[in-house]
Amino acid sequence: MFRHGERIDRRTVSPFLSRVGPGVLLLLAFGSLWLPARGVTPARASVPAGLRRVRIGLVFDVGGRGDKSFNDGAWEGLERARRELGAEVEYVEPGDADDRASALRLFAARGFDRVIGIGYIFSRDVDEVARDYPGVRFACVDYATPERGAVLPNTVGLVFREEEGAYLVGAAAALEARGAPVGFVGGMDIPLIRKFEAGYRAGVAAVCPHCRVFSGYAGSTPQAFKDPERGAALATTQFANGARVIFHAAGSTGLGVFSAAERVGRMAIGVDADQYDEAPRVVLTSLRKRIDVVVFNVVRDAAREVFDRGDGGLRSFGLREEGVDWVHQGPHARHLSAETVARVEGLRDAIVRGAVRVPTELR
């Protein structure tokens, strides 16, 4: 039996190469997964008196560095800790879901002083790795408590009362829309993001009880946080249906909301960080989650050899703690009218005083 491919083709490839070819390709491919994402900051800043030099490992969320939002906030806090506290920091931008736990494990195994996971999606990964490394201390931003059992003693979850900030930007959106509909674009359809929507809707209703609120979610997987094309599609629909202002809580998917707003000349509201610079013509304001402050404080605690686990392993940051805020001052608030700012600041005082309670769930 002859194989005619070999007879007629001029080149005959060795069977060894043909078997090894795809293997080599696979190996290169998987090997390179680790290459890009590790970052080590080389320069050593000096450590202030009375503090200890600490080693910090941080693992970013989906979206990664350069999302101009959630992750970049964490990055800012980390950078500040390196400059001001002389901390040695390393970080990983995980590629896919499976890399998260191994990235945490990488830092834990090397005995870092704090291992920080950024994003709710790390909650179970942190639990798993923290159980295996009881001597290492972990912090997780946007941590979701386990369904059963308490938070592990070497773990602290850092959570925000986003609904309070969303309430303020909801009121601002409705005031600026002057009775026209407003919109909300969420990333992944999960309780954390629905909390933003609940606060936003309550804020709209507080100043304009009959205003219509459109709402759309980009998807039901973490990919929904990094799909600007879909963000733009959802936003375009809402604008076409009459929305004047759209608030997004969708990571880099929200960049599509901004580009849609730019295309049609309407307004959008940023999230997590002050996103004015992303689209100066259309960003009305931003709900800021001070992830930078929270991450910096975690590192500072470590340098002071304190481990503040708050209330049973959860520390919560809202308007009162200034963990959540909205952009209403300076050049980045230039699109806001003075009346809007005054009215919304009044609502903020009411929440801080405890006179208004913002819902965390959609009715």
């Binding site: 795809p22 491919a29 998987f30 979206g63 931008e93 759309g216 990094k226 879909r230 295309r263």
Partner: protein, 298 residues
């Protein structure tokens, strides 16, 4: 009216990536090589288009570079499956992983972030109504106008050119083609290179409309395009029509989301459900090139 115009605009922006990827898939698969690598082509194309447009401030140069990158990707894939006789599906999966990682490595090297590139400037078309503005924006995509050219051009190629007929022959009956003195490896390499160039344009459409490259931004569109290839029975015009149909379904889903109270997961599953139905033979029959899925020698 506004909503309708916005819907049309969305079909026009969602479709091109699917359409070019599907056409690229048709060309490669007609030669008898299963092409799971479409996802990787999209990523490579999007990356090249955005990076070169950022660097040269010229979308035209970005598109030319995309074609070159497509050719390079096609050559690499051909080296594996034609030169080294790797199993095409395994090599295709490996190729997708390679491109997902390679684009991240290069992002990190160029912009110090393994996830996002800087953004290209956005053009504002305020003044007109939202529907008109988004439609004008969709029409301004250079890749949109390349799409009919590609569909008609490839149709002509398969019907009337030596290369097109050879590609079909090699995919349908490799042994017969060989006895006529047609070199399997040469024709397959040519088909893979051409297919990758066309598919890379889909990536350019995606990246340029997004004004930015993001890691993994292809997000499964390559696989959806593969569905269009199968639904379109490996014919350029039919595959293109299916790409438009799948694009319209996605746009419809985005238009209903949040306006009509239907669970979003249900809407998002529509294109995939449709594909399943057709592939399972419930809606029409698909017949693949005979040599597809075999190891190549026929």
């Amino acid at each position: 009216m506004n909503a309708l115009l916005a819907f049309i605009a969305q079909v026009l922006t969602v479709t091109p990536p699917l359409l070019f990827a599907a056409l690229g898939g048709v060309v490669s698969e007609r030669a008898g090589v299963a092409t799971v690598a479409l996802e990787g082509y999209l990523l490579g194309g999007a990356f090249t288009a955005v990076v070169l447009s950022l660097a040269t401030h010229s979308v035209a140069l970005g598109l030319l570079a995309t074609l070159a990158a497509g050719a390079a990707m096609g050559l690499v894939f051909a080296l594996c499956v034609v030169g080294l006789r790797a199993q095409p599906i395994v090599a295709g999966v490996a190729f997708n992983v390679l491109m997902a990682s390679l684009t991240r490595v290069l992002l990190k090297v160029l912009y110090d972030s393994a996830s996002n590139s800087p953004a290209l400037a956005t053009v504002t078309r305020a003044g007109a109504s939202t529907g008109v503005a988004s439609l004008v924006d969709a029409m301004a995509q250079p890749t949109l106008w390349l799409a009919p050219v590609a569909v008609l051009g490839l149709g002509w190629m398969f019907r009337d050119t030596v290369l097109g007929l050879r590609i079909t022959a090699v995919g349908e009956h490799p042994r017969a083609a060989q006895t006529r003195g047609v070199s399997l490896s040469r024709v397959r390499t040519e088909a893979l290179v051409l297919g990758a160039m066309v598919a890379a344009l889909g990536g350019a459409a995606l990246g340029l409309h997004q004004r930015q490259f993001l890691a993994y931004m292809s997000g499964g569109r390559g696989f959806l395009a593969l569905a269009a290839v199968i639904l379109g029975r490996w014919e350029p015009r039919r595959a293109a029509l299916w790409a438009v149909a799948l694009g319209a379904l996605q746009a419809l889903e985005a238009s209903l989301e949040g306006v009509v109270p239907v669970p979003s997961a249900l809407l998002q599953a529509m294109p995939f459900a449709l594909t399943l139905l057709v592939v399972s033979g419930k809606l029409g029959r698909a017949r693949a090139p005979a040599a597809l899925g075999s190891s190549g020698e026929g």
